[in-house]
Symmetry: C2
Subunit: 246 residues, 2 copies
């Protein structure tokens, strides 16, 4: 009852209403307490403080989010790779939650779009993307608890990014697998790359992978190479049965 009431609270301001809607899209479920998410986007330069004079910014949430992310990934790897020993699991997890990977995740979700800061976002280094990503997970934990962290991480991290064979180094590049298969099968392939920025500030590239003139996969990422790789991966999984048969 309490939750439903909060979600449909008619007294929410228009600004809150827009933020709620944007968060709902990003999360894939309803946020309850918007203040957690606002905090997750508040940079220390905004100099906000609470009633006790304690600073309000996302730095403590990073600590919380990092822990929750580590647990969710640990549980996923534990279940997914029943033959992996402790050393393997530890190594795989640190690949998944590497600084570079977290930055990529935060950047792909374009979290920086919501940042409240007195510094221009152009002056932030790369790490802000990963920090925002961790803080956002921390906010989810405070707002909705562990199961929703799991839900979000499954959808936004594990499904699109956690590719165990690739992390194991068994697959170096899906693009090369796709090209190899096309050449064997005497199929024409073409990666159609275009800029696809929208209104988002960050530069994006779109890719359409055509095989024998038909678009078989599409992808969008912050570099041409990544977008091609993503599209190739999608094509690979779509064609996996065919490819593996050969």
């Amino acid at each position: 009852m309490g939750i439903i009431k909060k979600i449909f609270n008619k007294s929410r301001s228009q600004e809150d209403g827009i933020f709620f809607e944007e968060m709902r899209k990003l999360l894939g479920f309803n946020p309850i307490e918007l203040s957690h998410y606002r905090r997750a986007f508040t940079h220390r330069s905004s100099n906000k403080t609470d009633a006790n004079g304690s600073p309000i910014n996302y730095e403590r949430l990073e600590f919380l989010g990092d822990a929750m992310l580590g647990s969710v990934i640990a549980a996923h790897l534990f279940n997914e790779v029943p033959t992996g020993d402790e050393g393997y699991l530890t190594k795989m997890r640190s690949k998944i939650v590497s600084r570079e990977h977290l930055n990529e995740l935060g950047r792909d979700l374009n979290l920086i779009k919501w940042v409240e800061s007195k510094v221009s976002t152009q002056h932030f280094g790369e790490n802000i993307h990963g920090n925002l990503f961790e803080a956002f997970i921390g906010a989810i934990y405070l707002d909705r608890g562990f199961p929703y962290c799991e839900k979000f991480i499954n959808k936004k991290v594990i499904a699109p990014y956690v590719d165990i064979p690739k992390l194991e180094g068994k697959v170096i590049s899906y693009k090369s697998l796709v090209i190899e298969w096309c050449q064997k099968e005497k199929k024409q392939f073409h990666y159609d790359v275009f800029e696809d920025n929208g209104n988002e500030g960050v530069k994006y590239f779109g890719v359409r992978l055509k095989i024998d003139g038909k678009v078989v996969a599409k992808a969008r990422a912050t570099s041409k190479k990544k977008a091609e790789e993503k599209a190739s991966q999608r094509a690979y999984f779509a064609f996996q049965e065919k490819i593996n048969k050969k």
Copy 2:
């Protein structure tokens, strides 16, 4: 319904019944799938394997339990110390989940009692206690999920061991605080120490702290010093109001 059925499953063997009862006492709630806990106590030397030939022992569970413990402690510190920044929270957590502390936790719960091994438990080093503790948390996660990990860790780790002022180094020893207070108040105190081994293999010490001839706190631990400190801490919290007034 499914859970209730499993708990009251009449076809459980007598051995399972005893193990269930022991686990129930240790956990403070009902276990569902006993095999997770059995695995948490299976040392690699027992050379057990599953149907696929994969080893059955507690090593992978350590990885899982370590992650869950880290998250639960992170959330506790986040809520408990609203003024602590990221660096503070990280430092405090590593004190709580230090190898030494985990060994103490495992030893105090006497987890080694249940170990199944081809090596005599006397040949294990100190770290087995902490490893068993982590593996046990991993088993709880698999059996009952994150909320039960939280429940168990709150009861067995946080309530009795996580003492923030002490971890911050503000309180070096509760024994010295108690003694100081007694001297100021001209009270007689006496630490009554005795061996208290039970049938458990590990050496234990019991302490009764008497003030003016009355037992005010009791404790039990694996060294005299620890038992005295524990009893002092209990006395300190019991008398805290009185002590702080002075």
